[in-house]
Each structure stands twice: as C-alpha cells, then as structure tokens.
C-alpha cells in the first residue's frame, strides 16, 4: 500500500510539473507588457526597467520559470497587478465562500442524482426510466449561466422570495446551489443508471434474488453498493473542480468566491491572479485524484496489488 501511494505521489508530482509549465505559458504568451500593466501606460523608461528587473523579466526564460516554480513552492504566487495584494492571500480569502457553495451543490447533486438513478434502475426500461433519462439529458443540456439568470429573474426579481446575489445569509445559498446541482445530478443519474443496470445483470444479483430477497432489497443492498463506488470517485473529482471555483455561477450570483475572483482577473488582464487561480484549481484536482486513487485501492485490493489498473 505504501509503495502504491508513493507511486501515485511521484506521478502526481510529474503532472504538477507539467501543470506549472502550462500556467507559466499563460504569462509568456500574453502580448501585454507586465511592466506597463503595473506602472501604467505613461510610465517613464527608467521605471519600466526597474519593474522589469524586480519581476525578473530581464532574465532568460528558464531562469524565470525556475524562479516561478520556486516561489510557487513557497506559496508565493506573486502580487495582483490591480489589487496590489498577494495572490495567495486573495485566493485563501475567497476560498470559504467557494467551499460552502461547492459542498452544498455537491450534496444536492448527489441526493438528486442518486434518487433519479435509483428510480430509473428500479423501473428499468419502463416509463419512469425513460422519463428520467430524458430529464437527466435535459439537466445536463441547460447552460448554467442561463439557468442561474432565469432563477434570479423568477425567484429574486419577480417573487422577491430570495436574495438577488452576493452572500447575505443562508438563503443566498439556495439559488446558486440549484444552478450548480442540476447539471451534475443529471450526469450522476445517468452514470448510476448505467452502473446499476450492469450490476443487476451480474450473477450475484441473480443469486440474491434466488435466495428469496425482494427486488428492493437486492437493488439497495447489493446492486447499489457496487454501483455507488465509481460514482463517488467521480463526485470526489467533481468536488475538487467545484472547490477551485465555479466562474459562471459565481459571476451570475455575484458570489464572493474564487470563480468570481478569476473572472475579475480575466476582465482586468491581471496576469498573476489569472495564473494563480488556474494553478490553484489544477493542484486541487491533482491532489483529489491521488486521494481518490488511494481510497479506491483501499476499497478494492485488486488495484492495490497491481492485478488491474
């Protein structure tokens, strides 16, 4: 098991190295001069030269990259051009809002998705199954930003039942949660349905039926238990994605999280902040991947012992 975890960590470190190169590329392909962006268009040449030296822009590319990685390893992602604050502090400051929304949306998506998947599995190939399949396809086909906008218009503007945006108490959480959860729920419902129908065709399910268990007992105790594991690993990775900030939903609802921070960075062409949010998201996903892999191996000894996967 230790060897397995170590192997995953080494591969993860390699992936992170690639991630850092791509993130570094963002700054490199940008046509705007960072020194001008910081000092303003009217700055004199001396000031610009000084800023360039400060930022290390007069160094060769590989030196710049090495410095970038070294600073990033120490938690230093540079300073925002616009806000003049540490990018790390900005991201850390926005994280709680994003985390609350991510957990709430994931919980809602799992409850709704598993319920839909279970119902369609129980009524397999009959009307509820077909209706739920179309419904889940509908859910994944809705553009999130539009769903969010429509919910805002109806619930906040017309019914005046819920806050218009921002974060002012728990009721602010309702609309963004629905917006984020529907798409994932539709996706989970379809995955669970596939896994359930696969599981229901297995011998052990037939055995369980044969020894006299009811359909419901077999579905919940035997098939669901096996069908849920792949779904949970998927949800684990999705959670990491949500935690790195959801740009569209946070923008629509004016949610004070990392996604909105990233959007503001893009609008302002605030390169260090753009790089920081992208890197933060990628690191979260790589870490989640490792955690999920290890959990999976722990649950399934065949993987841990290298028999499959």
């Amino acid at each position: 098991m230790v060897a397995f975890i170590l192997r995953r960590l080494v591969v993860g470190a390699g992936v992170l190295l690639g991630v850092s190169i791509v993130t570094f590329l963002i700054a490199f392909v940008v046509p705007a001069d960072p020194a001008v962006a910081m000092a303003g268009a009217k700055a004199d040449p001396q000031t610009l030269a000084m800023i360039r030296t400060q930022l290390g822009l007069d160094q060769p590319v590989y030196v710049q990259y090495a410095q970038y990685v070294e600073r990033a390893l120490h938690g230093d992602l540079g300073r925002s051009y616009i806000r003049r604050e540490s990018v790390t502090d900005l991201i850390v400051g926005r994280f709680p809002a994003t985390a609350i929304l991510a957990v709430s949306a994931m919980a809602a998506a799992l409850v709704l998705g598993v319920a839909m998947g279970l119902i369609s599995g129980a009524w397999r190939d009959r009307m509820p199954d077909h209706l739920l399949l179309v419904l889940s396809l509908g859910f994944v086909s809705i553009p999130v930003f539009w769903l969010g906008t429509m919910l805002l218009i109806v619930a906040a503007l017309y019914l005046r039942a819920l806050p218009l945006g921002g974060f002012s108490g728990w009721s602010s959480l309702i609309l963004p949660t629905i917006t984020l959860a529907l798409g994932s729920a539709g996706y989970y419902a379809r995955i669970l349905h596939t896994n359930l129908t696969d599981a229901l065709d297995q011998e052990y399910v037939r055995t369980a039926r044969g020894k006299g268990l009811s359909r419901r007992q077999v579905l919940v105790k035997h098939a669901l238990a096996n069908a849920l594991i792949p779904l949970l690993t998927l949800a684990g990775l999705d959670l990491a994605g949500l935690l790195s900030g959801v740009v569209l939903t946070e923008t629509v609802f004016n949610w004070p999280g990392i996604g909105r921070l990233a959007y503001e960075a893009v609008v302002n062409l605030d390169i260090p902040l753009i790089m920081g949010t992208v890197l933060f998201g990628a690191v979260l996903v790589v870490l989640a991947n490792i955690v999920v892999d290890v959990l999976y191996a722990w649950l399934d000894p065949r993987i841990r012992l290298g028999a499959i996967g």
């Binding site: 992936v15 991630v19 539009w146 429509m150 959007y263 992208v278 998201g281």
Partner: protein
C-alpha cells in the same frame, strides 16, 4: 430499450436538421436585419408583440432575427471547435494506443495534466491572453477539450490493435502508418462519430459560456451567449432578452445529446465507456 433509443436518436436528428436549416437559411428566414434598429422603441427594450414575436432589444433590434442569425455563428463555432477537438484527440489517442510504451506514457501524462485544469478557467485564461477572436476561440476550445476523446480513442485502439485483421495486415508487412490509417481508424470510426456528436454539445456550452463572460466572438456577430451577456443590464425590465437566446442554446445542446445518447442506448453501449 432499443426502441426508446431509436426515438431519442430520431428526435435529436430531427432537431439538428431544423437547426441546420435555420442556420443556412438565416437570410431568408429572419424577418429583419439582425444588426439594424427596426423597432421605434430605440433605447428601450420592448416585449414580445405581433410585429416582433420575441421582442426587441435596447437598440431596437429584433430578437427573433438575432436568434436565427445566432444559430449560424453558434453552430459554426461549435462544429469547427469540435473538429479541432477531434483532430487533436483522435491523433493523440491513436498514437498512444497503437505504439504503447514510452509514447503512450508521455501522451497519457499529458492528458492527465490537461484534465487537471478546470476547463472553463483555462479556456478563459488563454482566450484572454490571446485576445478574443474567432481563431483564438476555436483553438482554445480545441486545446482544452480533447482529453476525453484521446482517452476513449486510445482504449479503442488498444483493443483494435490486437485483433486478427490488424495482426494479419502487420504480418503482411504493412507500415504502422498504413495500419493506423487503413485498419485501426476505420474501425474506431463509430466511436469517434459518437464522441463528435456529444462533443458538439460540449463545445456549444463552452462557447456560450465564454461568450457570456464577454470572451466570445467579438460583436456585432450575434451569438446566443453574447445576447445573454448583453442583456444583463435589463434583467429587471426585459427578461425576454436573456430567456429566448438561452432557450436556443438549450435546444441545440439537447439536440446533440439526444442524438448521441440515443445512439448509445440503442446500441446498448454503456455510457461509462464513452463518458
């Protein structure tokens, strides 16, 4: 199962046909010029009326006409971006799956790396630094979306490369290039086509999302995502400006999903294989 899959497939295909007809026939179908102020209510959006069934926007332009023309640009971008995605993904999947070994390891780690990035965030970052234009948007959507395609095509190639007809051709002395192009690729085509159909719903959503954030094809091209973005100021007074273009996006995405998943269901293929 089979019959329902067929029904979904047919519905999807029918919806896509309507969409394509709308896109191609936009000049004939649109009642007004999408870029011209045709209503007298300039400066103030007007709700749906007999003359303008979906209302007019703040510049007095006809929303229906803009949505019809929007079908053209939205489909063009989504389909071209899908082609870019498929070219990258299929090439990487074929090479990784066929040659295996170091090439496979390197390409799959590259895939892992790209999968680690939050798609929209990375796309936003790159469109921003490259400046939004039709070309940069197509390239960026392709660059951030190919990973799923590469994984599926690789898996398919792995199994095809071991099949008897490929081994026979190899024994006859066929070069790797010939084997890949004439033996593996044609047999991977069904999978690739399904990925392309489902991929189009993905590129439609990604393009719409970018447009909504102001990073889409620059104005005055009336793409659906941009129409919603432009309507943000009028949520209170003119909700139809956001509602109808969003329905159009939803319709298009649903159409491609119905066709793709309907096919999968009819063939009884598990969704997981083509996630």
């Amino acid at each position: 199962m089979t019959a329902k899959g067929k029904l979904m497939e047919m519905t999807g295909a029918f919806m896509i046909t309507l969409l394509v007809i709308t896109a191609i026939g936009a000049p004939l179908l649109a009642p007004h010029d999408p870029a011209q102020a045709v209503a007298e209510t300039f400066g103030d959006p007007a709700g749906p009326s007999r003359a303008f069934p979906l209302g007019t926007d703040e510049l007095g332009r006809d929303v229906l006409s803009r949505i019809i023309w929007g079908a053209r640009i939205s489909l063009e971008v989504a389909v071209t971006a899908m082609v870019v995605t498929m070219v990258i993904g299929v090439a990487i999947g074929l090479i990784a799956g066929f040659f295996g070994g170091a090439a496979d390891f390197a390409l799959m780690r590259l895939t892992d790396m790209m999968l680690a990035f939050p798609t929209l965030l990375l796309a936003m970052a790159f469109v921003t630094v490259l400046r939004p234009s039709l070309l940069s948007i197509l390239l960026v959507i392709g660059l951030v979306s190919w990973t799923g395609v590469a994984r599926v095509v690789r898996a398919e190639t792995l199994s095809l490369a071991q099949r008897d007809f490929v081994l026979a051709a190899r024994a006859l002395g066929a070069t790797p290039r010939r084997l890949i192009i004439w033996h593996v690729l044609p047999n991977a085509l069904p999978v690739i086509v399904v990925m392309a159909v489902l991929g189009t719903s993905g590129t439609l959503l990604l393009d719409a999302g970018l447009s909504f954030l102001g990073l889409g094809v620059p104005p005055p091209t009336p793409s659906w995502g941009r129409m919603i973005e432009e309507s943000t100021m009028y949520f209170r007074t003119a909700p139809w400006l956001a509602a109808f273009p969003g329905l159009a996006i939803f319709y298009a995405v649903l159409a491609f999903n119905l066709l793709g998943y309907g096919y999968l269901r009819r063939r009884g293929a598990s969704n997981a294989a083509l996630k």
